[in-house]
């Protein structure tokens, strides 16, 4: 078998609860230097808990082995290519971890007087400026904690602006290719969602579009490049149409890594956009967060940004809470600061040339993969690809092999799967985003693996359908998990 993987021994490990024994401990506190108090006396006996039933009791070495063993059951970017489309799994420079662990940053308390945290505020101010320049927008809030949170902030901003003009309107238009967070966000922000159909090129039908923008429409949420990896060539025209009808253009900037240094959404007429620092700006995804989803706006929306805002007074940074038009807070404190440090470290390390070079390599890699796989997999949309390419499983489906099976088989070849079955407008989608972080060698191994699987799908479909075969855990029964949910451990009776 080709590929970059061979199997080796993996340690087994029970749950922490199953290896606990009464009286063991993994941590010791210094002696108490004040008199002990009787909890029942000062809190009232009813307020004091009994022991925490079932809570773990392990020694330090067992804690280390437990989580180290668990870690070896995970795939990660540090191990190899992770071509999850839309997720932008690029290399996470370790220096950024060191930056975020600088003691003077890590131990700063959010309620310290501002004159004692000028270093933190300087980092945030620089990042705001850099992101505004990169996106071509006028102002940035770093408060939102992830992409979807940035979306919510952005739609609330639009609502607030329109309300200040007299009518917040009722509807948000969302293309059927959009990520699920877009419609979910619009609903939470109190809007009705009107899904609009993409045309056969996977884009917004510019001829039909004006008739969709009625008096009820507050905004269009567009993803650019869209989830097919295709640049919406009419974006500027779309913005004009919306503006002429008093509506706004929201851009989901999850795919900004295809544009940095090449084109700026702000210059195309976008009014609000969010970024995913945990995608474009290389902060580690951590198995599902923490991320950061800054929201960037044009000038007329600035008064509505979440509060507080940074401002400079006599050469010192201050928080400005006096923001009467603000949508309010979207979370406590100021944002996922540690993630912001990492993103700024990345931007500083790359500089303008490095950022642009990363964009170029990301687009080059995706086009290379597309070109090499086109003979073997169905490519439903032929528009030029940006940072990702989307195939369908149509050819393999004839042999009963679906996109999920191909994805699982990739695991045997030593790769993380691509994104499966998204975007929804491509039945059986294989959404591949190599990112700029892959060497030619790693790309060629991936291509080789994909070609081998295409062959297997014809010659031995069962092999693919039952993959993975070499992992510690074979195919997982997700149906039973949902039908009879077991969501916590309980002791056996």
């Amino acid at each position: 078998m080709t590929g970059k993987a061979r199997s080796h021994i993996v340690q087994d490990e029970p749950l922490v609860f199953e290896i606990s024994a009464p009286g063991k401990r993994g941590c010791q506190l210094p002696p108490l230097d004040v008199p002990a108090v009787d909890a029942a006396e000062v809190l009232g006996a009813a307020n004091v808990r009994r022991e925490i039933e079932g809570f773990p009791e392990l020694s330090e070495v067992e804690v280390v082995r437990h989580f180290t063993r668990l870690s070896t059951w995970n795939y990660a970017i540090d191990l190899g290519m992770y071509p999850l489309g839309s997720c932008t799994m690029k290399y996470n420079p370790r220096a950024n971890e060191a930056a975020a662990s600088v003691e003077g940053l890590l131990w700063a308390h959010p309620y310290q007087p501002e004159e004692t945290v000028q270093g933190c505020l300087e980092i945030m101010a620089r990042l705001e400026r850099a992101l505004a320049e990169i996106t071509g927008m006028d102002a940035v809030s770093l408060q939102p904690a992830a992409g979807a949170h940035g979306e919510l902030s952005g739609i609330l901003l639009i609502r607030a602006l329109l309300a200040s003009r007299g009518n917040p309107r009722r509807k948000i238009l969302i293309p059927d290719s959009a990520h699920g967070t877009n419609p979910a966000t619009a609903a939470i922000a109190g809007y009705e969602v009107e899904n609009i159909r993409s045309n056969e090129r996977g884009m917004i039908d510019i001829e039909a579009f004006p008739s969709l923008v009625t008096e009820d429409v507050a905004a269009l949420m567009i993803t650019n490049p869209n989830t097919l990896g295709v640049f919406e060539v009419n974006i500027a025209r779309i913005a004009e149409i919306l503006h002429s009808k008093g509506a706004l253009l929201y851009m989901d900037g999850a795919n900004m890594n295809a544009l940095v240094g090449i084109t700026r959404p702000g210059d195309a007429g976008v009014d609000v956009l969010h970024l995913n620092l945990h995608k474009t700006f290389s902060t580690p995804h951590g198995g599902g967060g923490p991320g950061s989803g800054p929201v960037a706006v044009k000038k007329e929306l600035e008064p509505f940004l979440p509060k507080p805002r940074l401002k400079q007074v006599n050469g010192q940074w201050r928080w400005d809470y006096d923001r009467p038009q603000s949508i309010g807070r979207v979370r406590a404190f100021y944002g996922n600061f540690g993630v912001l440090v990492r993103a700024l470290a990345y931007i500083m390390a790359c500089g303008p040339e490095g950022l642009r070079a990363a964009t170029v390599d990301a687009v080059l890699n995706s086009n290379y993969v597309r070109k090499k796989l086109e003979p073997y997999y169905d490519l439903p949309h032929k528009e030029p690809s940006m940072h990702e390419c989307v195939f369908s499983d149509r050819r393999q489906a004839r042999h009963g092999v679906r996109t999920m099976d191909i994805a699982k088989r990739l695991i045997d070849y030593g790769f993380h799967p691509y994104t499966v079955a998204f975007p929804l407008i491509v039945p059986g989608a294989l959404m591949i985003e190599p990112t700029e972080s892959e060497s030619l060698r790693e790309l060629d191994l991936f291509i080789e693996a994909m070609i081998a699987i295409a062959r297997e799908a014809e010659e031995n479909p069962e092999l693919v359908r039952t993959a993975p075969h070499t992992t510690r855990t074979s195919r997982v029964d997700e149906v039973t998990a949902a039908r009879k949910p077991i969501l916590r451990w309980r002791p056996e009776r």
């Binding site: 941590c27 009232g44 995970n74 799994m89 003691e103 090449i262 390390a349 972080s437």
Partner: protein, 442 residues
């Protein structure tokens, strides 16, 4: 560029395979008038050494490393070294959300343990795999209560963290949810149960109580739950100081628990990243927002874990999802899991007891504003001088003082909130007590 693994020759080779002359052709579909015809106006790229020098210089501009008496939703606790060592393993740090269960069992197993430990601590049946922070967890808990009860409005205690209440307002504003605030009792610092009960009506979805509350006071959750249930509303128990769970009895009648786990995971980090969590009763699980890990088996019959009940979530339900949350705070939840395991059953209790003892040591030497029982935070009256003057005097002694409360509660503008954790030494508390003496701030 050191992050990019290709030589120029390799790039040319790839372009050739694509039949292109230059990389610019890769962007041919972008209309020329939209292309940025200049380099971004950013400083030139720098070496790792220079970037870290800059960050260290920023760190030095901050005043940290001093005894600090701030709490109010962000706490200084000792974090065993293994938390960072293990959580920063690349296999955890550089993985995505565990959609592909077969190669994500490490994180899935840890999150299953996390969900279990949160249930053990809170007395609930299920817990989700994290929310952005305590404030958004509380706001989402309110939306959840609305879906469960079909009722429109919520009552929130005025003793809930002011920023959590602000976030609740932001989330509620556009859903036509009315928020009413239940006053705190000026003597005890706890919610006035009767006043809270009088605000509940047949359109109230939930009563939201933080305990220990923003003033550090332990609320009468049992009585408040009875009042809520008598009106057909749910009780949401919010918390911002997770260490209190090591000592305080969970509220058996609570319907939803929503809290902040920063204390178990990370230093204050200037406000984030932290991790929120929502726990609830089994019967409400379909209304829970966020990711859930469930136990199942693989085709060989081995125990395995996977993300489950996804039909609640945005990628399946889109505009009908329980929430728009996608990326959460998984790594921080992992840190909390390691922290809870390392401290363990006895250690967590001792940690909580040390906090209690130390806070009561200092509180006994200061004029307390409220009489209610408290955990590791309390409000003191600044009799001789305003809170800001006391903090300035403390700063002169290299101590970071408490949080002046006037900004959030004008009626408490002569008060400050102090927090004492196990990280504070007795000598430093004695120095704080001195400053509070008449003439002590001079």
């Amino acid at each position: 560029m050191r992050f990019l693994p290709k030589s120029d020759a390799e790039r040319r080779q790839m372009l050739e395979a694509l039949g292109l002359e230059s990389v610019e052709e890769l962007f041919a579909q972008i209309p020329p008038e939209l292309r940025l015809g200049r380099p971004l106006a950013l400083e030139p790229g720098r070496s790792e050494f220079e970037v870290l020098e800059f960050m260290r210089a920023c760190g030095r501009q901050n005043k940290t490393g001093l005894p600090c008496f701030l709490g109010a939703g962000a706490y200084y606790h000792y974090r065993p070294v293994v938390v960072e060592t293990l959580a920063s393993r690349g296999e955890f740090l550089t993985a995505y959300t565990p959609y592909q269960a077969e190669i994500s069992q490490g994180l899935l197993t840890a999150i299953f343990e996390f969900q279990t430990m949160i249930c053990q601590l809170t007395g609930m049946d299920v817990a989700n795999a994290s929310m952005y922070d305590g404030s958004t967890a509380m706001a989402e808990a309110a939306l959840m209560a609305r879906r469960i009860t079909g009722r429109e409005h919520v009552v929130v205690a005025a003793s809930v963290h002011p920023e959590y209440r602000e976030v609740l307002r932001t989330y509620a504003h556009n859903q036509a949810i009315r928020i009413r605030e239940a006053p705190y009792d000026p003597e005890s610092g706890a919610v006035n149960v009767r006043a809270a009960a009088s605000l509940l009506d047949d359109n109230t979805a939930a009563l939201i109580i933080q305990s220990p509350n923003f003033f550090g006071v332990v609320e009468p959750l049992g009585e408040l739950a009875e009042a809520a249930h008598a009106a057909g509303a749910l009780l949401i128990h919010a918390f911002s100081e997770a260490v209190s769970l090591g000592l305080l009895a969970p509220c058996e009648q609570a319907d939803i628990v929503a809290g902040e786990l920063q204390s178990f995971a990370l230093p204050p980090s200037y406000g984030g990243p932290y991790a929120g969590v929502i726990a609830t009763r089994e019967k409400f699980v379909r209304q829970l927002p966020g990711r859930l890990v469930g136990q199942t088996t693989d085709t060989r019959g081995n125990r395995a874990f996977c993300l489950t009940l996804a039909t609640r979530e945005q990628h399946i339900r889109r505009e009908k999802a329980t929430s728009n949350i996608c990326t959460n705070q998984a790594l921080v939840a992992l840190m909390a899991t390691i922290f809870m395991t390392a401290y363990g059953k006895q250690g967590l209790r001792e940690l909580a007891e040390q906090n209690l003892a130390k806070a009561h040591y200092l509180a006994a030497r200061l004029p307390l504003r409220f009489r209610g029982p408290f955990f590791n935070e309390f409000v003191v009256r600044c009799e001789a001088q305003p809170p800001e003057a006391i903090n300035r005097a403390l700063a002169g002694r290299n101590i970071i003082g408490g949080l002046p409360l006037g900004r959030f509660y004008p009626e408490l503008s002569d008060c400050m909130l102090l927090c004492v954790t196990e990280m504070i030494r007795r000598e430093d508390m004695d120095r704080v007590a001195e400053v509070f003496q008449p003439g002590g701030a001079a």
